[in-house]
Each structure stands twice: as C-alpha cells, then as structure tokens.
C-alpha cells in the first residue's frame, strides 16, 4: 500500500507530460486526482499508525549491501504525508488558475507531481540511503521547478543557487548517513532509531553530526546558508507556496526531527543546532521587516520560522520536540495560504512591490480578510494556530536546558523575534490592504476567480479551528506523530489557548505590543526605503556565494591549467606518459622491488622467429609511419599477425580467430580511410637539416618511449615468473559445462558468466558505429582529395592511348578474376560465419568472430563490385541488424525474469538439426545471436559509411564543376 505514495506521483508525472499544452484544466484535474488519491490513501492508513504503529514495505534491492527499497510509515511520517498531499491538492487547484495560458502547464504539473513523489519518498524512506536518494531528487526537481520560467535570468540564477546549495548539502548528508550506517551496522531506519546510545557515544559522532547538519541546514535555509531561499522566489507562486512552506524546506527540519531521538541531547548538538537556529530566527525576522517584495518578506519569514523550529529541536527536551512538530504543521498552513494570497495580489495587480501597493481592501475584500487572518497566525495572535505553538516555544525558551550563555539568551531572542514577526506581519497587511489607493498599477485590481481563493479559505479555516479548539482537532494527530518520535518519553502536554497568566503569555504581549509599536515607528521609513535591511543589505549572501563559485570553478581551475596545461597536444601527451611511468614506478620503488633473475632459457626457434618478425614489423612501422604509409600499414598487419599466431600457440584459439578477423577488417578500414587522408611527400630538406631542437625532441620522445616500454617489459616479466595464484579462473573452468552448458570456457564466460559485461560491450560497439555513421553522414570530402586515384588515372591514360579501347575499360577489367572469386566467396563466408557461430559455445568461435567474419563477406562484395553494384543486389540494413541484435540480447536477459531468475540467467541443452547435427542450444545462444547481429551490423555500418564516400565524392565534384561552368 505504501508504494502507492511513490508510484502514483511518479507515474502521474510521466503521464502528465503527454497532455497537450493548452489543456490546463484537464492536466490540473489529473494531477489533482493523483494528489487526492495519495491523500485519501494516507487518511485511510491512519488507524495503522496510531499509538506507535509502524507500516513497512520492503523490496529487496541490494540486500548484500544492506540497501533495500524500504518504505516505512509511522505517525510522524504519516503527519508529513498528509501535509504534503493535502497541501499538494490545494496547490494544484490554485495553480490551475494561477498559471497563464501561455505557460506550459503539463510540464509544470509533471514536475510538481515528481516533486511530490520525491518529497513523499524522503518522508517515507525506511532506509538511510534511500532517503538520501529521494533527498537529492527533491533538490533536482526543485531546481527545475524554480527555474520553470527559464527565460527569466533571475529564475535561472535562483534555481542554480538553490541546487548548488542543497545539492552540496545533500552530498555532505549522504556521507554523514553512510558514516551513521557504519556506526550502527545497518542502514535500516528502524535499527538506526534504536541505536541512539551507540551513535552518541561513537568517536565518529562529531563528523556525522556536522555532515548531516550541513545537509539539513542547507535544505531548511538556515543561517548561514539561508540566502538561496529568497532567490528561489523567482519561481511561480504555486511552487513557492508548496516548496517553501510545506515541503522542500521542511525536509531539513524533518530530518532533524527524524534523527532527533538518536542524535539530540548532546552539548555539540545543542550548540550547533541551537546557534544556527537562533541566529536564523532573529536574522530572518529582522530581514523580513525590510523587504519590499511581498514574496521576499514571506521568504525571510519562512527562514525565521524554520529557525524557530530548529531552535526547538536543538533544546533536546521532549516538550520542545512536541512544539517543533506542532509548529511544522502550523507554519505549513498559514505560510502556504500567505504565499497563495501574495500570488493572487501579484496576479491581479501585476506587482509585488509593497511600495506600489496599498488600499487593496477596497478591491479585494475577501482576499484581504483571508490574508489578515493568516498573517495574524504568522504573528502569533491569540485564537490562531500560530499563537499556540509560539506559546509552547516561549515556554520552552524560558526553561533551562543547559547552563550556558546560549540557553540564557534564548528567551530574549525569542521575544525579540516574536516582536519582529508582529512587525513584518503587520507590515504585510497594512502596506498592501490599507493606506492610499494604488496608482498606475499594471492591472486594475479585482477579486480572483472563486476557486483560486478556495485553497486559501480552506487553510485559513484550518488555522482558525486549530487555534480555537486545538485539543479536539489537531490533538490526536499530533499525539500520533509525537509518539512516533519520542516513544516512551512522550511528555504530558496540554493543547489549550488559555493556560492562565504566566510568563509565556506576558512574553507574547510584549512581542505584540512591541511589534506594533516598532511598525508604526518605522512605517514612514519602510514606505520608501530600498530593498533590504540597513547595513546588512551591503552584505550580499549571493555575492559571497558567487565569489566562492568563481574561485572554485574558475580561478583555481584556471591557475591549475596555466601551471600544468599547454595549448598543444604533444607536451600534454608527454606529460601523461610521464605521469603513467611515475605512477607505475612509484610502488615498485616503495616496495623494495627486486627484479627476478633473468632466465634466458632456451626458446623454441619458431617462437624466436615469430617474435623477431613481430618486433621488426613494429619497429619498421614506426620508422616508416611518416612517409610510407602503405608500407607502415603492411608492417602493422605483420605485428597484428604476430599477436594472432602467438595466441594460437599459447592456447588461446578464440583470441586467435577473433584477432585474425579483426586484423583483416582493420586493414580494410585503414585502406579505405587512407585514401582520403593527406598525402605526404618526403621533404628532403627537412631530413637533411634537422634542427637541434627537433633532434632533441625526438631523442626525448624516444627515451620516454623506451622507459615506458622497458617498464612494461619488466612488469610483464615479473608477472610471468611468479607462480599463478589461485584465481577465479578455476571457478569458470569447473562450472563452464555444468552450469553454463558449453565446453568452450572463454565463450561461456562471455555469454553466460559475464553476460552483462558483454551486453554493455556490444552497447559500446553500437554507439561507436552510430557515431562513425553520424560523423560521415552527409559529409562530403574536400575538393582536393576528389581526383581519381593515381592507378585509375594511369589506367585511363592507357585506354586513351589505345584506339581500340574505351575509357574505363581497364578500370572495369582490373581485378576481374579476383572479383569473380570474391563474389563466389560470399556464400562460403556466410557458411563459415554460421559454422563459427554454432560451434561457438563448445569450440573456438562465437558471436564476435562470426559477426566479423560475416562482415568481411560483405566488404569483399563492396571491394569487388563497387558500392552501387552491391546495393542494387543485396539489401543491407546495418542499423536494423544492430537494433535487432541489441534487442535480442537484452530480451534473452529479460526472458530469464519470466522464469523467476535474475537478469541473463542462462539455460542450456542440446538440439539437433538436419545436416548440422547436434549443437548446443543454450539460451546463451540467443544472446550470442544478438552479439553476432550487432557486431555484424556495427562493422558493416562503419565500413559502408566509409565506402559511401567514394560515391558521394564524385557527385560533389560534379556539382562543383557544374556550378563553376555556370559561373564562367
């Protein structure tokens, strides 16, 4: 049942994308229905979570690592779920009217649902890692939501800042949670929540605390990370109403409350959390007074209220925790309604600047009344929900929790912040709804549509009801949530408006009176002042943030580049090789490496000859690479053949087959490619008068290469002279036939034991082939490489000289006999490929070798007949083959799911075909078929892409000639 909370929003999000952009209403109905569904399910689950009940949903994910997809709902998570879904429904309703016709509403609602899903994920995660995953998801989706109007630079900056801050915090938090999981020995939340003493007494407690706090405090916009929240106000107002009242920023305090039982109560907790909370509470409230933007005021007020919750959590007393949970709910209700009211004002007047607004009560009395009640709740006026939780806060602030200066300061700070809260709440109401009627507003103000106001009405009603009769309305639910956090230590508390004349009440009155007085003192100044509080406005959080970013991502990166980088490839390569040598040599030097005695034992003359030829080929290729490309190529082929023969003689027949075939294809490839690469004629002058510098450079390169080669030779020799330790190879040898059903162990490893790797590998092959195809698609070579090759010119000249021949005869007759042979070879090669393929599981061969062999068959046709000739006769669809191959391979893997086995489990048996006889028919064979098809497709695609250049080139040439003629 719990999985509904994750599945429904994300599935809905995917579906919502497909709504047409002009269907505002339909999309909103859809998204609203999803949110409502989640809300109703949550409501229905209430009986299961009362009095400490816990619902769990487990799905094994990586159980070996203790990582499971565990959803867990207790009373506290339930309360949050209800909050998230209920306000979600209201915000969708509101957004339906708020978003303009030209805004792509489906995109908005899709993101909105995704956000709701991520937030529910955070709330319901029963596993620390899962929590971090959803946490990051909320950061990412909120980035997209804040930057929803991406044409607006402020929105982009705000979104980027929010992502950088919360993302960095999230990373720290992940590390913290990993450490915590290590201390506890499990990532399961149930286990973690019962290991409080273990965590608090661990030597790693401090790092865990700091890292997790970094995550929570950045998310909840606590000082000094608060500055991203006001900048996130460039988001559409429904986003602010949702993210910055009930969800995103509440995730931070949610985490603090969630881990409160296991982390709170220490002095370190008290100081770090308390200091951050108290300074946020005061600064946020103070800054809020001086905002001119309505949403800016609300943003700072949110920061301040989050600070209040943080302070409550820092105190470490159960009563304070009760107050914190209560205030989370209260703040969500009144702040969401205030954001919506601000959005209505913006929507109906066209501005949010409080200097321009005024007297709106005449135009929108309904909205005005709602906003007044909500901001009175924000200010903590009696008979409203904000008052009750604020009283609880004051009462807790007076209590002595720890004998230190911070604890002594808390009541004064609390009263002062309460005063500021009254001031900015009053300012919000007074400057917007009273005073002179506004002049030259962008729009004529009027009441919003009936249903746009409905969500606010609902929330304000909630504020009132909870404020007047708290014990009956919110009481039981609050109790459920609190019991989930505090368990046995749940204190006695009473939710009531009237507790008699006591100190908290007096503090409330002081705050109320002081706040009102302060507002009337500052009224005239505020009516005209510029944005931001005096003195502090010079200190821009954003400026500092950007300075840091520039230093990190630009200054340091640039200076590193200047120090280590060059603008040329060669020195950079040299540097790389040098580093590689150093990295390999260092461990040898540090471990007192002793070279094994050099045993130049007798060597088989055949090997000696083979390797001597290989060495000669390699060196020759290097020497000739500059001016005699063809010769270098032939020598390169020689080196490849040496490798191939080495494999044959050293018991690696599979490698030899594949190497041989690949060598052939590579050579064809280079030959095709070289035709279009620059010709280079030996510059005699250059070779005679080599400057000293060039000589020095070559010598240096040579020495570097020798060192690298010598080092590798040393490593190879050392490795070979050591005895082979027991490796997993014997595991494969033992089980290849019994479990993989094939006798060719190498092939069984590829298609069975390590089938998933192979799937990845053919994926790479497909990507490379597509890239090559894309690079050459519609690409026409430059004019200078267009003239016919020298050989063709000679042949044509010969035809010209002989009157009995027509031009082109020699070209056509050239290689006549070989081309006939090559054509007839096609079925033979096809046969060979089939043979290699079918025997692959038991004997050397397999999908790779067969695929390449088959592609050679195609290449031969291209070589003998020419591109056009082949394509008139054969249907060649390499792209289709590739996709079929990939699909077949993947489908084989998925097929094993049908039988209840993990991905790519294989099943083996033998089958008999007429003529062919008995051959292994494992499910791995189908996988190998996929490999075959993909390798064939990819190789043919690459080769054809190159071959097609030869048809395109003359065409382009002809066009150039034609246009040239027309011009003249």
């Amino acid at each position: 049942m719990l999985s509904v909370f994750i599945l429904a929003p994300f599935a809905g999000s995917l579906l919502a994308i497909f709504f047409p952009p002009d269907q505002r209403g339909a999309t909103a109905w859809f998204a609203g229905a999803i949110a409502l569904l989640c809300f109703l399910v949550a409501a229905g689950l209430y009986p299961f979570v009362t009095s400490g009940g816990v619902l769990r949903y487990d799905l094994a994910w990586l159980p070996e690592l203790g990582l499971n997809f565990t959803l867990r709902m207790d009373g506290f998570a339930w309360l949050f779920t209800v909050l998230v879904t209920a306000i979600g429904v209201l915000v969708v309703l509101y957004a339906r009217y708020y978003m303009a016709a030209e805004d792509p509403v489906p995109r908005f609602l899709a993101l909105f649902l995704a956000f709701m899903g991520s937030m529910l994920g955070v709330v319901l995660s029963g596993n620390l890692i899962l929590l971090a995953v959803f946490w990051e998801l909320t950061s990412i989706v909120s980035f997209l939501l804040i930057g929803y109007w991406h044409h607006n630079a402020h929105a982009r900056d705000g979104a980027r800042m929010a992502l950088t801050m919360t993302g960095t915090g999230g990373l720290c938090m992940l590390v913290g949670l990993l450490l915590m999981g290590r201390i506890v020995g499990s990532y399961d939340l149930d286990v973690v929540l019962t290991s409080g003493d273990l965590i608090r007494n661990s030597p790693l407690y401090m790092p865990v605390l700091i890292l997790i706090l970094l995550g929570a405090l950045t998310k909840s916009a606590q000082f000094p990370f608060h500055f991203w929240l006001p900048h996130a106000m460039s988001a559409p107002t429904p986003v602010s109403a949702y993210l910055h009242s009930a969800t995103m920023v509440k995730a931070g305090v949610f985490l603090l409350a969630r881990l409160w039982p296991v982390m709170a109560g220490t002095e370190a907790w008290f100081w770090t959390v308390g200091l951050a909370g108290l300074s946020t509470l005061l600064l946020g409230a103070y800054f809020a007074i001086f905002q001119q933007d309505l949403k800016g005021l609300l943003a700072y007020s949110t920061i301040s209220h989050l600070g209040l919750i943080t302070v409550l959590l820092s105190l470490g007393s159960p009563l304070a925790a009760v107050a914190a949970v209560f205030h989370i709910v209260n703040h969500a209700t009144f702040k969401a309604s205030l954001f919506m009211a601000a959005g209505i004002i913006d929507h109906e007047t066209g501005t949010r600047d409080m200097r321009k607004l005024g007297g709106l009560i005449r135009y929108m009395p309904g909205t005005a009344v709602l906003a007044m009640v909500a901001s009175a709740a924000m200010a903590g006026v009696p008979l409203l929900n904000g008052f009750i939780s604020k009283e609880m806060f004051f009462a807790e602030a007076i209590e002595t929790h720890q004998a230190n200066i911070l604890d002594t300061m808390t009541p004064y700070g609390a009263t002062l912040a309460g005063m500021f809260a009254v001031t900015y709440s009053l300012r919000f109401i007074h400057s917007v709804f009273y005073g002179k009627a506004p002049e030259d507003l962008p729009k004529v103000p009027h009441e919003p549509p009936r249903w746009m106001r409905a969500p606010i009405e609902f929330l304000v009603l909630a504020c009132l009801v909870v404020g007047i009769i708290p014990a009956i309305t919110i009481g039981p639910f609050l109790h459920t949530a609190v019991v989930a956090i505090l368990g046995a230590s749940t204190p006695q508390y009473s939710l009531a408006v009237w507790h008699g004349w006591n100190l908290p009440l007096i503090m409330s009155f002081v705050a109320l009176a002081g706040g009102v007085g302060l507002y009337f003192l500052m009224r005239n100044y505020l009516a005209t002042s510029i944005e931001g509080p005096p003195i502090f406005r010079l200190l821009h959080g954003q400026r500092i943030f950007e300075r840091v970013l520039v230093t990190l991502s630009w200054k340091w990166a640039r200076s590193l580049e200047q120090r280590l980088g060059t603008r040329r490839l060669q020195p950079q390569m040299r540097f790389l090789v040098f580093i590689a040598i150093a990295a390999a040599a260092l461990p040898l030097l540090l471990s007192h490496y002793e070279m094994p005695p050099l045993l130049v034992r007798s060597i088989d003359p055949a090997f000696a000859l083979l390797w001597a030829v290989g060495i000669a080929c390699a060196i020759g290729a290097a020497l000739l690479a500059k001016f005699h490309r063809l010769a270098a190529l032939v020598l390169l082929g020689g080196a490849g053949l040496t490798t191939c023969l080495t494999f044959v003689w050293l018991s690696a027949p599979d490698l030899a087959v594949t190497q041989l075939l690949v060598e052939i294809v590579t050579t064809v490839l280079i030959l095709l490619g070289l035709r279009w690469l620059p010709k280079r004629i030996e510059d005699t002058q250059e070779s005679e008068l080599l400057s000293l510098q060039v000589r020095f450079r070559r010598l240096r390169d040579f020495l570097l290469a020798i060192t690298a080669g010598g080092g590798v030779a040393l490593i190879a020799y050392t490795m070979m002279t050591r005895p082979l330790p027991e490796t997993i190879a014997s595991y494969f040898l033992e089980r290849a036939y019994k479990e993989g059903g094939g006798t060719n162990v190498v092939n069984v490893i590829l298609v069975d034991f390590r089938g998933f790797d192979t799937l990845g590998e053919i994926g790479v092959l497909a990507i490379v082939a597509l890239t090559v195809f894309a690079l050459l698609l519609r690409f026409r070579p430059q004019a200078d490489s267009l003239e016919a090759p020298e050989q063709q010119r000679v042949q044509n000249a010969f035809d010209d000289d002989h009157p009995d021949r027509n031009e082109g005869d020699s070209v056509a007759e050239y290689l006549f006999v070989p081309s006939v042979i090559m054509r007839w070879m096609f079925p033979v090669i096809g046969m060979l490929a089939a043979y290699l393929f079918l025997r692959g599981h038991d004997l050397p061969g397999g999908g790779f070798a067969a695929g390449i062999a088959m592609s050679i068959g195609f290449i031969l046709q291209y070589m003998s007949g020419g591109t056009r000739w082949v394509e008139e006769r054969l249907r060649i669809h390499p792209l289709r083959w590739m996709s079929i191959g990939l699909l077949v391979a993947a489908a084989t893997g998925i097929g094993s799911w049908l039988f209840g086995y993990p991905f790519l489990t294989s099943h083996a048996q033998y089958a008999t075909l007429p003529i062919v006889g008995k051959f292994p028919l494992a499910s791995a064979l189908f996988f190998d078929l996929g490999v075959f098809s993909l390798v064939l497709g990819a190789t043919v695609l690459i080769l054809i892409a190159l071959a097609h250049q030869s048809i395109r080139a003359p065409r382009a040439h002809a066009r150039a000639m034609r246009s040239g003629k027309e011009a003249s």
């Binding site: 200076s559 090789v577 130049v600 390699a618 599979d654 190497q659 279009w676 620059p678 030779a713």
Partner: protein, 125 residues
C-alpha cells in the same frame, strides 16, 4: 621464453608510445593500433604462458581436469580486441573528419577552439 615474450611486449609498447607522442594524427593512429596489440599481450601475461592446453572441455568430460590455460584473461582480451577495433575505427573517422574540416593532420595546427594568438583567459573577474 618469458624473457623474450616480455621483450616483445616491451617493444610493442615502446613503438606505440613513440608514435603516440608524434604530432601527426596518422602516426598517432598507428600508435593506437599497436598499443591495442601491446595491451592485449600484456593482459595475456596475467594468465601466464601455457602451450597446447586451450580452455576447452573435451567432449566426454564435465569439467576440465589437468592443466589448462587461464580462461579469464582470454575472455577479457576477446572483449578488448573488439573494443579496440571500434575505438580505432572511431579515431580513424575522427581524424579523417578533422583533416577535411581543418585541412591539417598536424595537431599543433588544429586551432579552432584555441586560436594561436589568443590571450590566456583571465584568472578572475
């Protein structure tokens, strides 16, 4: 025999590295081709040199008894051969395309992104 094999690997590596350090793209390309062989041979040494015992189970047996070549490096190399082939094909086409666009195969002269006389970017702003 091991020493000679090590020599072969070493020289393949030397040649490959020397070619990779060159300015000309085509030589780099040839270097990559040889490097592929060199690396495969180096991986091969991880399974030691064994003659005449391919890791293929005889028809009448269930498991391979007696000495056999190490199948694991072979499987790795088989993958590596195909991947290095595709890598090579990609590089070749890239080099070709670059030559056609830039009219040079000299890496020093490929200066579209960073023109020769362009001043270094500032260290801050």
């Amino acid at each position: 025999m091991e020493a000679w094999f090590a020599l072969l690997v070493g020289i393949f590596f030397t040649v490959a590295v020397y070619l990779l350090l060159s300015k000309s793209i085509i030589r780099v390309l040839l270097g990559v081709a040889i490097l592929g062989n060199a690396v495969n041979l180096l991986i091969f040494t991880g399974g030691r040199l064994t003659r005449g015992v391919p890791p293929v189970i005889p028809g009448h047996q269930d498991t391979l008894t007696g000495p056999a070549a190490n199948a694991l490096p072979q499987a790795l190399i088989l993958t590596a051969i195909v991947i290095s082939f595709s890598f090579f094909a990609f590089l070749l086409v890239l080099a070709w395309r670059a030559y056609e666009e830039l009219q040079t195969d000299n890496t020093d002269e490929m200066r579209v992104a960073e023109p020769k006389d362009e001043p270094a970017p500032p260290l801050g702003y």
